[in-house]
Symmetry: none
Subunit: 260 residues, 2 copies
């Protein structure tokens, strides 16, 4: 809508791929060098872009700070985190939390081997939307029309032989997930990794986030992983209750949570 801003913002994803010099930026933006220079300068003044010693441009520190604040302001994450940690301590495997935003599904928290991480590993990264358990959960909650529209627009990469092959299969899978209230990814993204996931509901019943537990084949088989499903679902429900305010909101005594 605003050409200047549009151009300026287009520089960011471009620089995310790696440092670039003025000429490269101008070229890939399709504008004159002087124009690119002014845009970069403005971005620089706001700290979103950093100029390294070889004069090339990179994303700057303020962007990281903003990203940090943005994630911290997501209150689902804040509420869910202790539950995720508790679950992780019991079952040991990696636990993820994800949300759906603007056509993407992003991991916003991760607990791995009793090692809570910020801005690390996959947090912030879009997930493989056609196969991930959390993605299925989040998309399954969309109104049917939108669900179909989204499914049609997606690509269906064949990560493994068990990846979702096409829109029809995906919609069928979503219907299943919607009905049963949980989801799996059994080797659909990486051959040797299985996931099980459950949805987190808001006060109005809509799915606001999804969580999953992942483990490699060599540690537990898919069947064994599925035996953990009740625990995962109970955790998701506990988070839902607290998030939607239906919970005994005892702000202290968090030990009373029933996500055992």
């Amino acid at each position: 809508m605003s050409q200047t801003v549009d151009r300026a913002l287009s520089i960011l994803p471009l620089l995310a791929q790696g440092p670039a010099d003025l000429g490269q930026v101008a070229d890939r933006l399709g504008v004159h060098k002087s124009t690119a220079l002014r845009l970069l300068r403005t971005l620089h003044e706001h700290g979103l872009v950093y100029r390294q010693e070889d004069q090339r441009y990179r994303l700057g520190a303020r962007l990281f700070a903003l990203a940090q604040e943005a994630v911290e302001n997501l209150d689902v994450r804040e509420i869910a985190h202790p539950h995720l940690v508790a679950l992780n301590e019991r079952i040991g495997h990696t636990v993820h939390l994800a949300v759906h935003e603007e056509g993407e599904v992003l991991y916003i928290d991760k607990v791995e081997s009793r090692y809570p991480v910020r801005m690390y590993s996959r947090i912030g990264k879009p997930v493989a939307i056609t196969v991930a358990a959390v993605a299925k959960l989040l998309l399954a909650d969309l109104p049917e029309a939108e669900r179909r529209a989204v499914a049609e627009k997606l690509d269906y990469p064949t990560y493994t032989s068990r990846s979702t092959p096409n829109a029809a299969a995906f919609l069928t899978e979503l219907a299943t997930v919607r009905e049963q209230g949980w989801a799996t990814d059994l080797g659909g993204h990486e051959e040797s990794i299985n996931c099980i996931g459950a949805p987190i509901h808001g006060a109005d019943g809509r799915v606001v986030a999804a969580m999953s537990v992942s483990a490699p084949n060599v540690v537990v088989t898919a069947e064994e992983l599925l035996t953990l499903l009740p625990q995962v679902r109970r955790t998701a429900e506990a988070i839902s209750r607290e998030y939607s305010g239906t919970a005994p909101n005892t702000p202290s005594a968090q030990g009373s949570s029933d996500d055992r």
Copy 2:
């Protein structure tokens, strides 16, 4: 420099403080509502801003994705290399760069007496994790629980009489390193070789790499080597600044590195 972009970018820190509606944004920007609307729309299209259910605006999830992608594409070695060369040219001794990965500490760069070396000597090889200065620096940054777990699992080979003897001694050493912000290896790996090292920090404060300077006893004594510590630390700090994108606010002529 560019008014439109400047205004648009000013919205981001504003929203970082919490969600705001159109009127608030317009007011705090000092522009007309319609102007603010257009800017917000542009930010929205780029995913930097998200519109929540009550129509208020928040920071968007793409911010993470960007920050995430940027850190992944950041190459410490590339950034550090010129600094290491500069330091080497001043002090002459061998300079190493190392990272922590999958339970190992690996040298990823080395500069030896005006001999910029890649794929040579120990680059890529695991270091003696219980004694090397860089290993101490990298392990000292781990959360306490993991630090202890790692220390318990290691072997403590007696390379020399001054090698770290056991887990308890190692943890004590790590605590010291953590506190003082630098590390040494005085004859712990090879009787006649001393090292001093300093950590390189990322934008989130965590230690992403470590560098060290090594010299044989016959060239400089341990005491003499320690006099170089300030230079080493300054170099590490300069690399940290550049790596984390902490821009000198002076838009122009910030001279250059202060790792002198």
